[in-house]
């Protein structure tokens, strides 16, 4: 059971990458990117976990109680917030792509330059 968290993280990353490579729609691609990103949350939190330890918040239990790693938790926290805003930025880009081309399949999109010379 001790390897299960690593496998969960690897699996999330792998299906996310596969989804990105095989994507037929840019919105689906952003969803896959978010799945990829969630694998980093699982990995980071697993790295800091300690059997039988409490949360790194010494309100109910006194300082000195064995607690899990707070550094990786802080990393995951900022990761989630930045991830959400970056997803919003990507979705805004996709909205503009859809408006310009009426097409969201990355396979069918052509470079902007080629279109301008036509």
């Amino acid at each position: 059971m001790t390897v299960l968290p690593w496998f969960a993280a690897a699996w999330l990353f792998a299906i996310g990458i596969y989804g990105i490579a095989s994507s037929r729609n840019l919105i689906h691609l952003i969803g896959c990117l978010s799945v990829c990103q969630s694998s980093t949350y699982v990995l980071l939190l697993s790295v800091g976990y300690r059997w039988g330890a409490a949360a790194p918040i010494f309100y109910d239990h006194p300082p000195g109680t064995m607690a899990v790693d707070p550094v990786v938790q802080a990393l995951v926290l900022t990761d989630i917030v930045v991830g959400a805003t970056v997803t919003a930025l990507l979705l805004a880009m996709v909205l503009q792509v859809g408006r310009k081309y009426g097409e969201l399949d990355p396979q069918k999109l052509r470079p902007l330059v080629a279109r301008a010379h036509r």
Partner: protein, 253 residues
């Protein structure tokens, strides 16, 4: 390059990277028995050094505060990019009608929806504020509290509809919150330097352990993050909801 080729290339990349992946996988610590020293050191020293009980906040707003500053500017950059991409096309006019597919019926809000949203939206925003203010004591902080407050704003939209929501929410205020929050964080880092200290040196009185007013300078940086996240997510919601409006040409069609 078609889809099959892309997947083949991914498989090839996977095979090439296998030795590196294998080395990392075999070097991972056993789950539940971390070997890192930094986190336990923070847990051991944090409460005494900074008088705060929430070590995650202590790492975010003090020990690794400069990382959070960088992350704050990433937030600012991503939100500015999204707003620049979306602004201007739709929904600038408060009376703009909702864009809809021809022939599709418009169903009004149920009264129960309005009631529940009016009851819960202020409560959620208050809870977000509570969460942001108690960053040093209990689980929470500017990031989480800011997102909770912004989700309360979204619930107001659900209850009041686009027009009422736009009348309640001023876009310049959100922009000022977003930029001002990041500025406050940066100034909290620079102010101790003006007084002859190091960047983000905790020069303010540290307060009492397990009290809302503890942590000194962390209170300022936490407030900066809370303001920036509230403003930033509010702006994102505003811009994306503007996209639901019809453009002038569609309106008159």
């Amino acid at each position: 390059m078609n889809r099959r080729w892309r997947i083949a290339l991914l498989g090839l990349a996977g095979i090439c990277l296998t030795p590196a992946i294998w080395r990392v996988a075999t070097a991972l610590p056993r789950f539940g028995e971390p070997s890192e020293q930094y986190g336990p050191a923070v847990n051991r020293l944090g409460p005494a050094l900074r008088h705060v009980s929430n070590m995650v906040s202590a790492v975010n707003f003090d020990f690794r505060g400069i990382d959070t500053l960088g992350e704050e500017f990433m937030l600012l950059g991503a939100i500015t990019g999204a707003v620049v991409l979306l602004r201007g096309a739709r929904g600038e006019d408060l009376t703009a009608k909702a864009a809809r597919l021809p022939g599709r019926q418009v169903i009004g809000r149920a009264e129960s929806t309005i009631l529940i949203c009016r009851l819960f939206s202020p409560a959620i925003m208050l809870f977000g504020l509570y969460m942001a203010l108690h960053a040093m004591v209990t689980p929470g902080g500017g990031f989480q509290g800011g997102v909770v407050i912004a989700s309360g704003l979204l619930l107001t939209y659900l209850g009041e509809g686009y027009r009422g929501w736009r009348r309640l929410i001023a876009s310049p205020v959100l922009a000022a919150l977003e930029g001002g929050g990041a500025l406050l964080f940066a100034l909290a880092g620079l102010a101790p330097m003006a007084a002859g200290g190091a960047f983000m040196q905790n020069v303010l009185p540290l307060g009492t352990f397990r009290d809302v007013f503890s942590g000194g300078l962390m209170l300022v940086t936490n407030a900066g993050v809370g303001l920036a996240v509230t403003g930033g997510f509010g702006m994102l919601f505003l811009e994306f909801l503007e996209e639901t409006r019809a453009t002038q040409s569609e309106d008159t069609r």
